[in-house]
């Protein structure tokens, strides 16, 4: 690339890494199946994640049918019910959310947003997807194994997870679950190293870290966290597999199961919980931080205004990421660990509320005196703020150790974490798909179907999870096949449960309209052209839309400004793209 004006531009630092074209596909197979192009891998990741996510959705319908109308559906036995909730939880948290945010959006957006031609290790990136697919297939296989999938709850707490009183515990369900998780982690690590190295090493000239869009900051920080957190789950899964198959006792104390003394002895069930939540709590933010980053960009683009307090937003992302490694035991206040841990973990947990609150303020202040276009991505972003604020605030109940005591293990917890790490991040995923679909396909998603989808999803999801808090406040424990009408209920929750079930079925059905829209618009949608939202960031500036292999044609883009020069006073248009060397950003901006 001997393009002189580019190479000699004195405003920009010289390139540190040579501009290398990623390997070209030579055959149909390497082009469409074993593709090494991050954009293609992103779509493979997302497609697989959405497919398995649909299974998770159907499982949620089945469990809600049991809770809303107990005794009516004979095929939902207690065993089946526990298998539904377990697989629903694991699929949604790991195989859908983690995979879509990092494998999907990470792969698609990181190279484009930092101005790289591809991920730095394209072959390893391809392997990452195929191992993920294998993990999903092993997970699906457990549905067809003798005894069915594990019903141990998504937390897989031993000893019950590997004993015969739990569905799949004495058969192959739990084994396949653990093997699938191990595969997932191996696959993720391959992708994750790619994302981190690409952000650190393959940024184009002029793209300093503090000029990165917050989307990249969110995904980057989440990936670093995942690389540190998943190993804890990996060792826990391996140790439990040993306990189950080889008769070791890492997590198994001496115990008598249904009258029979087992040969285990000396292990600690609580050790598993520490390992699990050392992964599990960062996992919440592994899902949340990409959502934080993406929603910041959606708000900025569609309100035509810079993200308020960009530097504070970056530090909040990094701070939340770091703090999230010292709060894990707030999931274990009533686990039987030493009660004095409660003081420490309640304090760290409530401290993390401060940077989180700052992010919320800054999102709202981004809208203040903006020019708000109520597009579908903006509507979903607003839906995110409402559900995230709601779910974040109920976190202050559960994080405050003594308030957690009556609420923990009740439906209040279920409502809380669905609102904060289910509904809120999915609002962002949906908004992001409406936002970037034109880039991926060259066409806009259908508006009418989109509005129908938004309103049902947003209002419906709120109608599911807001009342569910009160089911828990009444005292209904989670993971109950049937609560009945025990005397402690001053008002039975039957009617409320039926209402929630109807809302859940409706919201699920609305997602089918969305899937149809994805298909329909790819053929009949309005042609988008390049940069339909008038955004500033690099991914919209490729010479061809959708971007082709290598992303940038002959020359890499050069970056002269931060990602948020919207509505600059005196500028002819209300946005200035990052590659525009034109008017300098006013001094207040961090550049």
């Amino acid at each position: 690339m001997a393009d002189l004006p580019h190479d000699t531009d004195p405003q920009l630092p010289p390139a540190e890494v040579a501009d290398v074209m990623p390997p070209h596909a030579h055959s149909w197979w390497s082009h469409y199946v074993f593709s090494q192009d991050a954009k293609y891998i992103a779509i493979q990741y997302s497609g697989t994640a959405i497919a398995i996510g649909l299974v998770g959705l159907v499982l949620s319908w089945l469990m809600r049918l049991q809770l809303g109308f107990p005794g009516i559906f004979d095929f939902i036995t207690p065993d089946a019910y526990y298998q539904f909730i377990t697989m629903h939880g694991m699929i949604m948290v790991v195989y859908l959310l983690t995979a879509v945010f990092l494998g999907g959006f990470g792969n698609y957006l990181i190279p484009l947003m930092v101005g790289a031609r591809d991920m730095v290790f394209p072959f390893v990136n391809m392997l990452s997807f195929w191992i993920y697919l294998l993990a999903v297939l092993v997970l699906v296989a457990s549905f067809f194994a003798p005894g069915g999938p594990t019903g141990a709850g998504w937390t897989l707490y031993p000893p019950q997870a590997i004993l015969s009183g739990t569905p799949g515990g004495a058969q192959s369900g739990i084994i396949l679950m653990l093997v699938s998780l191990i595969l997932f982690i191996i696959g993720f690590t391959m992708g994750g190293l790619n994302y981190v190295v690409t952000v650190l090493q393959a940024r184009t000239r002029g793209m300093t870290m503090m000029r990165l869009p917050l989307t990249v900051w969110g995904i980057f920080t989440a990936t670093v966290m995942a690389l540190l957190a998943f190993p804890a789950l990996l060792v826990a899964a391996i140790m439990m597999l040993f306990d189950r198959l080889l008769g070791t006792s890492f997590f198994m104390p001496a115990l008598v199961e249904l009258g029979e003394t087992l040969s285990y002895g000396g292990g600690s069930p609580i050790a598993f919980q520490h390992l699990f939540w050392f992964f599990g709590h960062p996992e919440v933010y592994i899902v949340a931080l990409p959502a934080f980053g993406i929603v910041s960009d959606l708000l900025a683009v569609h309100a035509r205004k810079n993200v308020f307090g960009y530097r504070m937003m970056v530090w909040a992302i990094v701070g939340i990421g770091a703090l999230s490694f010292i709060v894990w035991a707030h999931h274990m206040y009533v686990s039987g660990m030493h009660p004095y841990f409660g003081f420490f973990f309640a304090t760290t947990t409530l401290i993390i509320a401060v940077p989180t609150a700052i992010k919320v303020y800054n999102w709202v202040l981004t809208l203040w005196k903006g020019d708000i276009h109520l597009t579908l991505p903006m509507l979903f972003a607003l839906g995110f703020i409402v559900t995230f604020v709601n779910g974040g605030l109920t976190g202050l109940f559960l994080g405050n150790v003594v308030v957690d005591v009556p609420l923990s293990d009740t439906m209040f917890v279920v409502a809380h974490f669905h609102m904060v790490m289910g509904v809120a991040p999915i609002m962002v995923i949906l908004g992001a798909i409406y936002h970037w679909y034109p880039l991926m396909t060259g066409r806009m998603l259908n508006q009418a179907m989109g509005h129908f989808h938004f309103w049902i999803t947003f209002i419906g999801a709120y109608a599911i999870f807001f009342p569910m808090h009160y089911v828990g406040l009444v005292g209904v424990p989670r993971r109950y096949y049937e609560i009945g009408e025990p005397a402690f209920m001053t008002t039975p929750v039957e009617g409320l449960n039926a209402f929630i079930t109807v809302a859940a079925l409706t919201v699920g059905a609305a997602q089918m309209v969305f899937l149809f829209n994805l298909y329909w618009s790819s053929r009949h949608g309005r042609v988008a052209g390049s940069n339909p939202w008038k955004a500033t960031t690099l991914e919209w500036l490729t010479p061809v839309v959708p971007p082709e292999h290598g992303n940038w044609g002959d020359d890499l883009p050069l970056v002269y400004r931060w990602a948020y020069d919207y509505s600059l006073p005196g500028a002819p248009e209300d946005y200035i793209v990052q590659t525009d060397p034109g008017p300098k950003t006013p001094a207040a901006g961090p550049l």
Binding site: T166, V256, T261, V334, I385, P406, F488, V493, P586
Partner: protein
């Protein structure tokens, strides 16, 4: 435009549901009124924040919606505002945390005059053990568990002989007497949860966990298992009665001790041996 109205309706609806809906916690029957108070304070603080943030959001969406010729301001940072918001949030969070930690300190500090009750959980029933006349529970271990010794009490520990055993039955507690619940499991995780007592703790095989409370209201209460323990988790329930101290004493005298158990089961063993040796 519609979204601004819907946001307002969400706030109004949420507050109305909270205030007017009949679903609320069950009346308390223990000394942990402080926990209820902390919870109510948390509802107030978080509720106010929720209302303010969402209403402000609704206002922004309404006031700054796109119209022809309308342009956003350029406003990258505002250090003063950011510092103020941080400080106010930190104060709000501290206001929640500090009282919470004080109550937690009480929750984990068992008073000296608390009597001990051991709960032994198994898939899927509740058993109890009370100290006998010596006021001490004997040691126990899973290795000692047998048909005659379902709770695994150490047969060589003299403190265990007079322990009162309630196998799969109901527990009675005297009103007004602080009680330390010693929680034990012989198979998987369980959790001894009585909604009216507000307390909860997992039972972990291989260790003894605890919590304490003082029953304050006479009545019959339902015990629920609150930690997933396998297929019949949702059916693992039991009853606990809070009664007057006199009624409690009367009930206590009717219960079997470990020694009674051994005595009651021994003849059976003898006849078995006798039968076996007949031919």
């Amino acid at each position: 435009m519609v979204i601004a109205i819907v946001l307002v309706l969400i706030v109004v609806g949420s507050v109305a549901f909270h205030m007017l809906s009949p679903w609320w916690w069950t009346p308390i029957a223990s000394n942990w009124g402080y926990i209820d108070t902390t919870l109510v304070v948390t509802f107030w603080i978080t509720g106010i924040v929720f209302v303010m943030v969402v209403l402000f959001l609704a206002y922004c969406v309404f006031a700054f919606r796109h119209r022809e010729g309308h342009k956003a301001i350029f406003d990258p940072e505002n250090k003063r505002l950011e510092v103020w918001l941080t400080v106010i949030t930190a104060i709000g969070v501290a206001a929640l945390l500090v009282p919470g930690l004080f109550v937690w300190k009480q929750f984990v500090t068992v008073p000296d005059n608390a009597t001990e009750v051991e709960v032994v959980a198994q898939q899927w029933s509740w058993n109890y053990r009370l100290p006998g006349e010596d006021g001490r529970l004997g040691t126990s271990a899973v290795e000692h568990i047998s048909d005659e010794n379902p709770l695994g009490i150490n047969p060589f520990d003299r403190f265990g002989k007079d322990d009162v055993i309630i196998e799969g039955g109901e527990l009675y507690l005297p009103k007004g007497q602080p009680v330390k619940m010693l929680l034990r499991s012989i198979d998987v995780l369980h959790n001894y949860y009585v909604p009216e007592f507000r307390a909860k703790m997992d039972m972990v095989p291989g260790m003894v966990t605890f919590y304490w409370f003082t029953p304050t209201r006479i009545g019959e209460f339902e015990v629920l298992c609150a930690e997933f323990c396998g297929t019949a988790h949702g059916f693992m329930r039991g009853d606990v009665y809070v009664v007057s101290p006199e009624d409690y004493q009367e009930w206590l005298t009717e219960q079997d001790t470990f020694a009674d158990y051994a005595a009651a089961t021994e003849p059976e063993q003898d006849t078995q041996i006798a039968q076996n040796s007949q031919p």
